[in-house]
C-alpha cells in the first residue's frame, strides 16, 4: 500500500498538471504576450479550472512508473495504475499497484467532493475492514511521508487562489498563483504556490508549503508530450525538502475518455479487488 501511496503522489501531482489541451486559444494568448506593451495577465480562474478538471476530460486510465532516491543514494521503484473519473461535483479515483508484486493487493479509493473534506478508503483484507483516511493523513513509505492530498493531485479545487502575478524565473516569464486552503477540509498544506508558463499557461512548477510556512516539497514539470491531442506531462521531478528525497515519475501509458463505469469507484469494488488480489498473493506465497 505504501508504494501505492507514493506512486499516487507523483502520479496525481503530474496528472493534475498533465492534461493541458493544446487548443488554438492558448496559442493565440501566447502570441499576444509578445506585444510591446505588457499583455494583460491570463485569467487565473480559468487556468486553475482547466487544471483541476483536466480541461474537461471525463476520465482517464494511466500507468505510471516512479523511482525515488534518498539522500544516501538508496533507490526504489514502483508502478501503479490510476483510474480517475470526473463529475460536476468532484472526482473519484481508484489506484492499484502493478509492481512490485508483493504490493499488488494494495488499492485506494478516493472520493473528492467540491468544498467538502475528501474521503479516501483502503481495505484491509486480513481484518476485513475499511480504513478511512482524510486528506492530511500522512502515509509512510521507505521513510518518505506522503499525504492523501498529495496522492490526489493536491486537491487544488479545495483552495482559494490569487489572481496571479507575472514573475521571471531563469529568464522565463511565469504566472505565479498562490493557493490558500479553505477551512476545515483537513488539507495537508495550508498553501501552495503554482507557476504557469505565460506562453501556453501550462504548469511549470509547484511549491507545497508546510504548516511551518516553509517549502515542504517542490514539483518540477520536466517533460510534456501531446497524447490524444492533450498536452500530457510525462515526466515530473519532485524534491522533498523535509525528507531530502528526490522522486521522478514518468507516465508510461495514458488513455483519456475510456468511459469508466461508476462501479469501479465504490467501496464494494475496492473490497472485491483487494480480497481477490490478496487471495492470489497468498496462494502464490
Amino acid at each position: 500500500m505504501q508504494k501505492l501511496f507514493r506512486i499516487g503522489l507523483i502520479l496525481f501531482c503530474a496528472l493534475g498538471c498533465a492534461c493541458q489541451d493544446s487548443s488554438p486559444t492558448i496559442s493565440s494568448e501566447s502570441g499576444s504576450s509578445k506585444a510591446e506593451t505588457p499583455a494583460p495577465l491570463p485569467d487565473a480562474a480559468a487556468m486553475v479550472k482547466r487544471l483541476i478538471t483536466q480541461d474537461g476530460c471525463k476520465d482517464f486510465v494511466a500507468e505510471m512508473h516512479m523511482s525515488t532516491e534518498s539522500a544516501d543514494g538508496k533507490r526504489e521503484q514502483v508502478e501503479v495504475r490510476l483510474q480517475r473519473k470526473y463529475s460536476a461535483t468532484g472526482a473519484a479515483t481508484f489506484m492499484t499497484v502493478l509492481s512490485p508484486k508483493e504490493e499488488s493487493d494494495k488499492a485506494i479509493l478516493a472520493i473528492e467532493s467540491n468544498d467538502k473534506p475528501t474521503e479516501a478508503f483502503s481495505y484491509l483484507a486480513g481484518l476485513k475492514k475499511l480504513a478511512k483516511l482524510n486528506s492530511s493523513r500522512p502515509l509512510g513509505f521507505r521513510g518518505a511521508k506522503v499525504t492523501v492530498q498529495e496522492l490526489l493531485g493536491m486537491e487544488l479545487g479545495q483552495y482559494s487562489h490569487s489572481t496571479g502575478e507575472r514573475v521571471t524565473v531563469d529568464g522565463q516569464s511565469l504566472i505565479k498563483i498562490k493557493f490558500d486552503a479553505k477551512k476545515d477540509l483537513n488539507l495537508a498544506f495550508p498553501s501552495i504556490v503554482g507557476y504557469f508558463h505565460e506562453k501556453d499557461q501550462a504548469p511549470a512548477r509547484f511549491e507545497l508549503i508546510g504548516d511551518n510556512g516553509e517549502i515542504s516539497k517542490k514539483l518540477i514539470i520536466e517533460e510534456v508530450k501531446p497524447i490524444q491531442n492533450r498536452q500530457t506531462i510525462t515526466k515530473v521531478a519532485i524534491e522533498d525538502e523535509t525528507q531530502k528525497l528526490k522522486l521522478t515519475m514518468e507516465t508510461k501509458k495514458i488513455e483519456y475518455d475510456r468511459g469508466l463505469p461508476d462501479k469501479i469507484f465504490t467501496e464494494q469494488h475496492l473490497k472485491g479487488f483487494i480480497t481477490e488480489a490478496s487471495a492470489k498473493r497468498n496462494s502464490a506465497n
Binding site: 476485513k128 475492514k129 482524510n134 493523513r137 521513510g143 476545515d184 504548516d211 511551518n212
Partner: protein
C-alpha cells in the same frame, strides 16, 4: 636565564606583548559555548556508535517538552489556545516537528461490521462538537499512546513535544528555544513549564555567561585584596594581575584559534589560572622582597641584582611547582571523556603560561621600574611571623602527637571514602528552584518522566519485529519496565512502543472493544495493522527489522538510572534472546561516563602521584627524599575523599578533578617550603632552627598563597551550576587542609636527617 631576563627586560616585555596581540586576535570572534550533555560522553565506543545508529533510524532524542496548565484542556477555548500555540511554534524558524493533542493521529472506530476505522486526528477541526471532544478526552486520558505523553490524567495539563531541526548551530538552537519560550508564555495558559535538553542548554548557556560575569570580577577583587594585604604595594598588586591577565588572553586566544568550545568545565579555567598564578607570584614577589632586604641599601641602588638573585633562588621551586600542577592536570588527560580531557589539557597549558610569565615577564617589568616600586612589605617580623615560628617549634616538638592525629584523620577519612557515591545528574546541574529544575519536576509530576532512554531491539532480517509473539514479548518488556521504581516511587512511569500502536489500532478496528486492546495472533491481521506505517516511524524501522521502546523516567541521576537501565536491558535480553538488545540515549551514555569516572579517578591520581614523585626525586636528587616529601601531600587528598564521603558530596564530572588538581597544588607549597628549608640549613645547627627560619621566610607567602587559592576556589560556590559549586567548595576545603599540612605536618616531618642538604 635570570641574568638574561634582567639584562634584556624590554626584549622580554616586547615578546610577551607581541604574543599577547597575536593570541588575543583569536578572541575577536568569541568562543562557542557548549553545554550539551554529549560533551561528557566518550566519542569512540560501541555505545556511541549504537547511539548514532539509533538516532539515524528513529530521530533525535533531545526534544523540548512544554507543559501548559489550565482548568480543563478539552474545553474549546483551551483547545483553541493550544492549537494557536501549536501552530505558532510550528512556524518558528528552526523547528522540525511539533507533536501535541492538536495533531496526534487517532484511529476512530466506525460503527458497522465492516466499517473499520477512520484514521484522523484526535482533536477535530471543529471545536464545537461536544460529543466528539468528549470522545477525544476519553481516549486521551486512557490510551497509553496519549496519556502522560500528551495530556495528564486529570486533563489539566497538555504537553507539546518540539523537535528542533538537526544540525542547528548552537546559537540558532538557543534563539529557536527562546522564541518558543516567549510564545508559550504569551499563549495565555495559567502555568507553563519547560523541560528537555534544548531548554536545559538554553538556560545552561545563560547561566554560564552569568557565571563568567560574576566569578571573574569577584575572583579578581579577592586577589587584589589579598595581594594588597600581603605586600601593601601597588606594583605587587597590579603586576600579578597584569601577568595573569596576559596568561588568560594567551590561553583563551589559543582555545579560540583551535576552535575549542567553552563547556561548564572550561568555565573554571580562568579562576583556576588566577589562583595558580597568584600563588606563584606571591612566592616570586616575596623572594624579590627578601632579596631586597638581604642586600640592604644596595638593593635599592641596584634593583637588578636583587631581582636576579631572587629569581635564581625562586626559578627552580616555581618550575617544579608548575610541573607538579601540570602533572596533576595531565593525569586527567587519560580519560576518554572529551570535556574533562579538554579542560585538563588547557589547564596544564594555562599553568605553563603562568609559570613562564612569572619567571620572565614579572622580573622584566620589575627591572625597568624605578627602585621605589620594588618596596614590598614581606613581613619578616610581626605577629604572623611569631605565630609561624611558634607553630614550627610546636610541630617539631610534638611529632608523636601529630602522627597520632594524622592517623586519626586518615582513618576517619578512609571510613568516609567508603561512603562516596559516583553520580552524574545532568538535569540537576542547575540549582534547586531554578526554572530548569522546577520545569523538570513539574513535567515529571503532571505528565510523565521527562528523562527518556531507548531500548533497541534489533532483528537479523526485515520484518523480524512484525510477528505476534515478538510484539507480545515487547509488550511484556514494557510492563516489566514500568514496575522499575526506587523506594521513593521514582522510576520508570511510562513506555511506548510499536506494540502500543498495534493494540490501539486493533481495538479501534474491533468497535473499541476493550478486550481487543491486545496483540492479535493472526499474522495477516498484524500485517494489516502495520500498513499505516507513517505513525510508527519513530518506533519501527521501515524494513521492520529494528524496534525502539521509548522509556520515560522520573529518575535523572546516573546511579539510579544505571540500575534501572541494567535491569530492563537484562530482562529484554532474556525475553528476546534471538534479538540484539541494547539500551541507548543521551542519559544512558552519561551513565557509562559515570561508570568511567570511578576507574579513571584511580588511574589519574596514580599517574599524578608517580609523576610528582619523580619530579620531587629529581629536584632533591634522591628517591627517598622524593617519597618522604610526597607522603605528607597525600594526606590532604585522603582528607578530601573522606570529607566528600562524610558530606555526601558525589563524585562526578567536576569533583573528580579536585584530587588531581589539589595534589599538584599541595606539592607546590611543600616544594617552596622544602627548598627554603634546605637553603637556610647550617651544618652545625639543628634542623629545628632551619625549620623555624623557613617558617619565618616562607610561612607568610604560603599562608597568603593558600588563602588566595582557597578563596578563589570558594568563589565557585556562587556558581549557577551545582557541580561547579561543589568543585569550588571541595577544593577550598582541601586547600585549607593543605595549608595545615604545609605548616604543621611538613615541618614535623622535615626534622628527619634525610632532608639535610648535602
Amino acid at each position: 636565564m635570570s641574568r638574561f631576563v634582567v639584562s634584556h627586560p624590554r626584549l622580554i616585555i616586547g615578546l610577551v606583548l607581541a604574543l599577547t596581540v597575536v593570541l588575543g586576535f583569536g578572541l575577536r570572534r568569541g568562543m562557542e559555548l557548549d553545554v550539551s550533555p554529549l560533551s561528557f560522553v566518550t566519542q569512540n565506543s560501541q555505545e556511541r556508535r549504537d547511539f548514532a545508529e539509533t538516532r539515524k533510524h528513529f530521530g533525535a532524542d533531545d526534544f523540548l517538552l512544554i507543559a501548559v496548565v489550565c482548568d480543563d484542556v478539552f474545553k474549546p477555548e483551551n483547545l483553541a489556545r493550544l492549537k494557536t500555540l501549536h501552530q505558532q511554534i510550528e512556524k518558528v524558524s528552526g523547528v522540525g516537528e511539533v507533536l501535541s493533542l492538536i495533531n496526534v493521529p487517532y484511529a476512530r472506530s466506525l460503527p458497522g461490521d465492516e466499517s473499520g476505522v477512520s484514521l484522523e486526528k484526535l482533536i477535530p477541526n471543529s471545536l464545537n462538537d461536544k460529543s466528539r471532544l468528549e470522545e477525544a478526552r476519553a481516549a486521551a486520558i486512557t490510551d497509553r499512546m496519549f496519556v502522560g505523553n500528551l495530556v495528564s490524567t486529570d486533563s489539566r495539563t497538555a504537553a507539546l513535544t518540539v523537535l528542533l531541526k538537526l544540525d542547528l548551530p548552537t546559537a540558532r538552537r538557543h534563539e529557536t528555544t527562546q522564541r518558543i519560550y516567549d510564545l508559550t508564555h504569551a499563549s495565555g495558559f495559567g502555568e507553563v513549564y519547560f523541560a528537555g535538553d534544548p531548554f536545559s542548554q538554553l538556560r545552561g548557556t545563560q547561566a554560564l555567561k552569568d557565571d563568567l560575569k560574576l566569578l571573574l570580577p569577584l575572583t579578581v577583587a579577592l586577589i587584589l585584596l589579598l595581594l594588597w594585604l600581603c605586600f601593601r604595594s601597588v606594583t605587587a598588586v597590579l603586576l600579578p594581575l597584569a601577568t595573569i591577565g596576559i596568561g588568560l588572553v594567551w590561553l583563551m586566544g589559543l582555545m579560540a584559534y583551535l576552535g575549542t568550545q567553552f563547556t561548564i568545565l572550561v568555565l573554571m579555567l580562568p579562576t583556576v589560572m588566577l589562583a595558580i598564578g597568584c600563588s606563584y607570584l606571591i612566592h616570586v614577589l616575596n623572594q624579590i622582597g627578601i632579596a631586597g632586604c638581604a642586600s640592604g641599601q644596595s638593593a635599592i641602588r641596584n634593583p637588578q641584582s636583587a631581582i636576579e638573585s631572587a629569581m635564581r633562588f625562586i626559578n627552580l621551586p616555581v618550575i617544579v611547582s608548575a610541573l607538579t600542577i601540570i602533572a596533576g592536570f595531565l593525569s586527567l588527560t587519560f580519560t576518554e571523556i572529551p570535556a574533562i580531557r579538554s579542560t585538563a589539557i588547557y589547564s596544564a597549558i594555562g599553568a605553563a603560561f603562568t609559570m613562564i610569565l612569572s619567571l620572565t615577564f614579572v622580573p622584566a617589568v620589575l627591572a625597568i621600574l624605578p627602585a621605589r616600586a620594588m618596596v614590598f612589605r614581606i613581613g619578616l617580623h610581626g605577629k604572623m611571623v611569631r605565630f609561624l615560628e611558634d607553630t614550627g617549634r610546636w610541630a617539631t616538638s610534638h611529632q608523636r602527637l601529630l602522627y597520632v592525629l594524622t592517623v586519626i584523620i586518615v582513618v576517619i577519612s578512609l571510613f568516609g571514602m567508603r561512603r562516596i557515591k559516583i553520580d552524574i545528574d545532568f538535569f540537576h546541574f542547575s540549582k534547586p528552584g531554578t526554572e530548569s529544575r522546577v520545569g523538570l519536576e513539574e513535567v515529571n509530576r503532571r505528565l510523565s518522566g521527562a528523562v527518556t532512554f531507548d531500548i533497541i531491539i534489533e532483528g537479523k532480517s526485515g520484518g523480524a519485529i512484525e510477528k505476534p509473539d515478538v510484539l507480545e514479548r515487547i509488550a511484556r518488556l514494557q510492563a516489566f519496565a514500568e514496575t522499575r521504581k526506587d523506594p521513593s516511587g521514582q522510576g520508570v512511569d511510562r513506555s511506548l512502543s510499536v506494540a502500543d500502536f498495534i493494540k490501539h489500532l486493533n481495538r479501534a478496528f474491533n468497535g473499541n472493544d476493550p478486550k481487543q486492546y491486545s496483540i492479535p495472533t493472526d499474522e495477516r491481521i498484524i500485517a494489516d495493522l502495520f500498513s499505516d506505517r507513517d505513525q510508527l516511524k519513530g518506533f519501527l524501522t521501515e524494513d521492520g527489522r529494528m524496534a525502539r521502546v521509548l522509556v520515560r523516567s522520573t529518575l535523572s541521576g546516573s546511579q539510579a538510572m544505571a540500575s534501572v537501565v541494567r535491569e530492563i536491558e537484562q530482562h529484554a535480553k532474556e525475553l528476546l534472546p534471538e534479538f540484539r538488545v541494547f539500551a541507548t540515549g543521551t542519559f544512558v551514555l552519561l551513565n557509562r561516563t559515570s561508570d568511567q569516572i570511578g576507574g579513571e579517578q584511580v588511574l589519574s591520581i596514580g599517574i599524578a602521584l608517580v609523576t610528582i614523585f619523580l619530579m620531587l626525586a629529581i629536584l632533591f636528587r634522591s628517591l627517598r627524599v622524593g617519597l618522604t616529601a610526597l607522603v605528607p601531600n597525600l594526606i590532604p587528598v585522603v582528607f578530601f575523599f573522606g570529607y566528600m564521603g562524610w558530606q555526601g558530596i558525589k563524585l562526578n564530572l567536576t569533583t573528580s578533578l579536585v584530587a588531581s588538581i589539589v595534589l599538584g597544588l599541595a606539592v607546590d607549597n611543600a616544594v617552596q617550603f622544602i627548598m627554603r628549608f634546605r637553603s637556610v640549613q647550617k651544618a652545625d645547627e639543628p634542623l629545628r632552627d632551619a625549620i623555624i627560619e623557613s617558617m619565618r621566610l616562607s610561612g607568610r607567602p604560603i599562608i597568603y598563597a593558600n588563602i588566595a587559592l582557597a578563596a578563589t576556589f570558594a568563589v565557585f560556590a556562587v556558581s549557577n551550576f551545582q557541580p561547579v559549586s561543589d568543585f569550588g567548595l571541595l577544593s577550598a576545603v582541601t586547600i585549607i587542609g593543605c595549608l595545615i599540612e604545609d605548616l604543621v605536618l611538613l615541618p614535623s616531618r622535615l626534622t628527619s636527617p634525610i632532608f639535610r642538604a648535602k
